[in-house]
Structure formats: structure tokens, C-alpha cells
Amino acid sequence: MALLQSPAVRVALSVALATGLYGVSFGALSVAAGLDLLQTMALSLLLFSGGSQFAFIGVVAGGGSGISAMSAAALLGIRNGVYGMQVNVLLRPPRRLRLAAAHVTIDESVATATGQTDPDEQRRGFWAAGLGVFVLWNLFTVVGALAGNAMGDPAGWGLDGAAVAAFLGLLWPRIRAREPAAIAVVCAVVTLIAVPLVPPGIPILIAAVVAAALGLSGLGPATEGLEPDVEPYPAGQEDGGDARSRTAPPAPRKPDAVPGPLPRAEDA
């Protein structure tokens, strides 16, 4: 019961529920894209990174090849490598737990952990959010896939519209500042210009190259684009008298900024 009194764990559980629930949409869209139940489950169990999973099925749904789908998923997962490094420094997990910690290193677990200041709370928040999302995400993926299979023709149900909404929903929290919005517009335009010229799937990879070049050229603050899909500490509730603010006041943060990974400034 002590665990449930931890503010980090409470935040983690609500994040896990919100994130896990939209596993339903992933499952349904995945079977609509042509993957079977086992393939859909494999992505949620093993790939386990919402954005990359949606990217994979999004490319397949558009008629892209397996290698394009895999490449889009891999590129979208690069931020998880950055998160892994941050978690490793922040939590110092013991060697035997490293692989497990790596697997549940996703937007939500990292954001939950870095939103706390006390090291124990950071650890509890990371594991509770990571494992919570893992369990619920996989559970609801199966629910969604079974529902999707039962529904049949995707276009008839507007499932292609659901995919559009899902991608916009994933993009939305990351483009609240001007530079990331500009990156998004440029990449969308480049993609559409490329669609008639190259095989399906490739336009997305061209956009990735453009995005990487824009990132290298130094547009925008360093943490843009690294926001979680479900914000564990919504700005509106900053002084809402929740459990968190009583015990572990988080560092003040802008609503659109992911907590800095590490005391980066002090490091320098």
C-alpha cells in the first residue's frame, strides 16, 4: 500500500491507463493495415514504442515495402536511445535489470521519472509507468486487434480516417512551438512532393532525412520533439493540490518542454 501513496506511482498509473487505452486504436489499425493478430501482438510486445509501431503499420497501410516500414520505425525509435542514456544516468539500474529497464524506456516512463525530483520517486515513477504501460498497452492491443478483425472492411468504418487522426494526435503535442511546427510543415510538404515520384514508403524516409538535416542545422531548443504522447504532469494542474505537489514539488517547467534529461547545464 505504501506504493500507492507514492505520488510518482499515482501519476504513473494514470499515464499507464491513458496510454494503454489507445493500444485499442493501434490494434484495430494494425489489422486494418493487413497485419494479423500475432504480428500485431509481436509489435506491441517486442517493439513496444507507440510511435514506431504506428509508423510501421502506417507505411504498410500505404502500400510501402517491409524495409520502408522497418526503417521508419527504426528512425522514429532513435529518441528511445537518447532516453535510455538518460534513464541509465538518472536511475543507475543494477546490471541484471538493465535489459528490462531498456525495454520499458519509452516517452511516458521517462517523462514520469524526470518529472520527479526525489531519486526514489524517480525510480518508482519510471518502473510503474513503464511496466504499467507495457501491461495495458499489450492488453488493449489484443482487444483492438480482435475488434478490428470483427469489423471487416476498414474504409467502411472510417478506420483510414482513424489512422490520420492517430498520427496527427501523436504529432500534436510536439509542435506547440514555432520551430517544431515549421519542421512538421516542411516535412509534410516534402513528403507530398515525393509521393508521385518514388515508391510508397520512400517519401517518409526522404522526410526523415530532411528532418535530420534540419535538426543538425540547429533549429529550435534541444528537447523539442521529445515530448510524451500523454503528458504526466499537465500544465493546468501545476498547482492543483495533487499528491505530487505536497511531497515532491517538480522543477518548474513550461507546458511544452520535456524535463531536461539531466542537469545538463551544470555538466557543461
Binding site: A18, Y22, V24, S25, L35, Q39, L43, L46, S49, F56, G58, V60, G62, G66, I67, R79, N80, G81, V82, G84, M85, Q86, R98, L99, A102, G156, W157, G158, D160, G161, A162, V164, A165, A166, L168, G169, L171, P180, I183, A184, V186, C187, A188, T191, P200, P203, A207, A208, A211, A212, L214, G215, L216, G220, A222, E224, G225, L226, R264, D267
Partner: protein, 103 residues
Amino acid sequence: MTLWGWILLACAISIATKFLGFLVPARLLDNPRMLRVAGSLTIGLLAALTAVNTFASGQALVVDARVAALLAAAVALWLKAPFLVVVAVGAVAAGIARLLGAA
């Protein structure tokens, strides 16, 4: 390679990417340039996927019921609807647009 092959390879790369972060020295990745590339890649890919799923039909660009889904989803997001509601709104909007005769 079959679709299964690409799925398992994508899974292996995902696990390796996450684990790599735990193995390399922090200094290697924790610099503003690396963070920026990771962030802009995420934004650029999601924007590209949104565009393709809205307007592409194979190698053709088309305006069909999916545009209604895009606009409806944007309104839902602007109203701060939760993700699952946004997805449902997109599906309903595309469905209604088709009922009204959109392709």
C-alpha cells in the same frame, strides 16, 4: 523477406536502440545536437506519416474523406480531447464524409 521478417527485425532494432542508450557513455548522446536530431526526426516522421495517410493513395495524391478526418481531428486536438477520442472523431468524420458522398 516476408512481413514477419521485417516485423521481427524492427523489434530487434527497437530493443537494441533502447539498450544501446544504457551501454554508451552519457557524453556521447547527451549533447544538444544529438537531442535535436532525435527530436526533429520524431516530428518530421510523424508529420510525413500524417501527410501520407491523409493524401496518398499508392503513388497518387487524392483529396477524399480522409481530409475530413484530418480537419475533425485537428479540431478535437485543439479542444484538448484525449487521444482515443481524437482517433474516434477521425473515424466518424471519415465515415460521415463517405455517407455524404466523398470518395
